[in-house]
């Protein structure tokens, strides 16, 4: 408490005012005096006291009502309120407590008891003031942190690719479960023929996961890497595995699927580091949904991990879908985890029915599994190849 202790005495007995003033000044307090409730409230509004000693039975507004009005005023309710009672009123303490009184003192007053009660009241008042300060500080910190996270999430979103039109159409959906997630992806033309696409999912959530995914993203976009490395998915994953070993990356590892598509030869070369397979949809009477699997461990777990690339020539009007596990690792209404095969069948039915856009696919998944939202980050990329 920075300012001097202020105590307001509300009592119509002027002898008691003299006596109380003396006792309270001994405690180092500034004493404000009022002879009735109305003028007491007036004094308090002018200069809010830390502690109030108020008589119960007074002409006009009684002590209970004064107490109620103090406790109803946001600027005054912090004051520690002591009601003075006489013996006959002891039974009415319940009413005093209901009015918000913090303590009671019996008349005639015993000076040493009075001082002890005031000291204890001030301890409580100070502890409450500290708690209020702490809670205000915390609220401010939380606000700052949320604003920072929102800015960071805005930054992550700004890094993600816009939709792609032309020889290859590309659309994506990014739904971080918190303000910041560890999922990241990109697709862009390496040159006039080859399109690079990748998706990655860093273990964990929040700022540390986002930092790792951003640094991978920036590295791959920086053009610091030779084009022939970017154009070779197996070598690229091997290279990343050498750069991002877990002991150097806040104990984080990530799964990744990356592919290179040549629009002239329609060749897709891809490799995976423990990521769920990309899905290739071939429309037609005998439509197919293929899982594009390639062996490889998540990046960051083992120095010597090997990534074997796969190659595929795509039929005309194939569609490639890349996702993170957040979209299918979800619980059904009966509590059971959705089987991956069920997910595949569900997606294929949707695609056969002409649903293509990531937003619609995701909305259908939520509706089908009766979930209001996803628990994990969800990324879905759809490419028309």
């Amino acid at each position: 408490m920075k300012d001097r202790l202020r105590i307001l005495v509300i009592d119509d007995d002027r002898l008691l005012q003299v006596v109380l003033t003396r006792i309270l000044r001994e405690l180092g307090a500034d004493v404000q005096l009022a002879s009735d409730g109305q003028s007491g409230l007036q004094r308090a509004l002018e200069q809010p006291p830390h502690l109030v000693i108020c008589d119960w039975v007074m002409a006009g507004m009684d002590g209970l009502e004064v107490c109620r009005q103090f406790k109803a005023d946001p600027g005054l309710k912090q004051a520690f309120f002591i009601l003075l009672t006489s013996r006959s009123e002891v039974d009415d303490r319940v009413a005093g407590l209901d009015a918000g009184a913090d303590d009671f003192l019996s008349k005639p007053l015993d000076p040493s008891e009075l001082k002890a009660r005031i000291r204890s009241g001030l301890r409580i008042h100070q502890a409450n003031a500290q708690l209020r300060q702490l809670s205000a500080d915390l609220a401010q910190q939380k606000h700052h942190l949320e604003a920072e996270l929102a800015r960071a999430a805005g930054y992550v979103r700004s890094l993600l690719p816009a939709r792609l039109d032309g020889a290859v159409g590309g659309e994506s959906l990014f739904l971080p479960s918190q303000q910041l997630g560890g999922d990241c992806f990109d697709f862009y033309w390496l040159d006039h023929r080859r399109l690079l696409v990748y998706i990655l999912d860093v273990s964990g959530h929040g700022v540390t996961a986002a930092l790792t995914s951003i640094s991978v993203h920036n590295l791959l976009r920086s053009r610091a890497l030779p084009k022939d490395l970017l154009a070779d998915p197996g070598r690229l994953l091997t290279y990343l595995n050498a750069c991002f070993q877990m002991d150097r990356q806040n104990d984080q590892y990530f799964t990744m699927w990356c592919g290179i598509y040549d629009k002239d030869t329609r060749e897709l070369q891809f490799a995976s580091a423990g990521h769920p397979p990309a899905l290739l949809y071939i429309p037609g009477v005998n439509s197919e949904l293929k899982q594009l699997k390639a062996p490889g461990l998540p990046i960051g777990l083992f120095d010597e991990a090997v990534y074997l690339p796969q190659t595929l020539i795509l039929d005309a009007s194939s569609q490639l879908f890349l996702c993170t596990d957040g979209i299918f690792e979800i619980h059904l209404i009966d509590g059971r985890l959705w089987e991956y095969d069920e997910f595949l069948m569900f997606v294929k039915d949707l695609l056969d029915g002409g649903v293509r856009a990531p937003e619609q696919l995701v909305a259908n998944v939520l509706a089908h599994t009766a979930n209001p939202r996803f628990n994990d980050d969800v990324v879905l990329i759809a490419l028309e190849l």
Partner: protein, 121 residues
């Protein structure tokens, strides 16, 4: 068994009050006695009038007003008389000259005792 009347001013309460004054105990006690004499005379007049008129609410208010300063000065038996009259007036509507007899007797004892204390504290 011989009955010793309770002192009009409780010695312990009086000693505590003086202790509160410290070096200025004489001046403070004189100020308090002066205030009390000033206020109490008027309140007792009001009590007499209210009792004579059978005005129970008026009697309750005036006895309540006399009770607190009496207790502050250590006049505990008088404060108790005030409480009993106030209680009867407020809860049962009792107000008569007869009911305030003990209070008036006790008030005279307090006045005499305070005069003594004011002269030789």
């Amino acid at each position: 068994m011989r009955h010793t009347p309770e002192p009009a001013i409780n010695p312990t309460a009086w000693a505590e009050l003086r202790a509160l004054g410290g070096d200025e105990a004489d001046a403070m006690v004189a100020e308090l006695i002066g205030m009390y004499q000033e206020d109490a005379a008027g309140l007792v007049a009001t009590i007499r009038a209210a009792a004579a008129a059978g005005d129970a609410p008026g009697l309750a208010d005036a006895t309540h007003a006399l009770r607190s300063p009496s207790a502050t000065l250590g006049a505990l038996p008088l404060a108790e008389c005030c409480r009993l009259v106030e209680l009867a007036a407020r809860s049962e509507g009792l107000a008569s000259a007869e009911r305030i007899e003990p209070l008036l007797t006790e008030f005279e004892r307090v006045r005499a005792a305070l005069a003594q204390l004011a002269l030789a504290p």
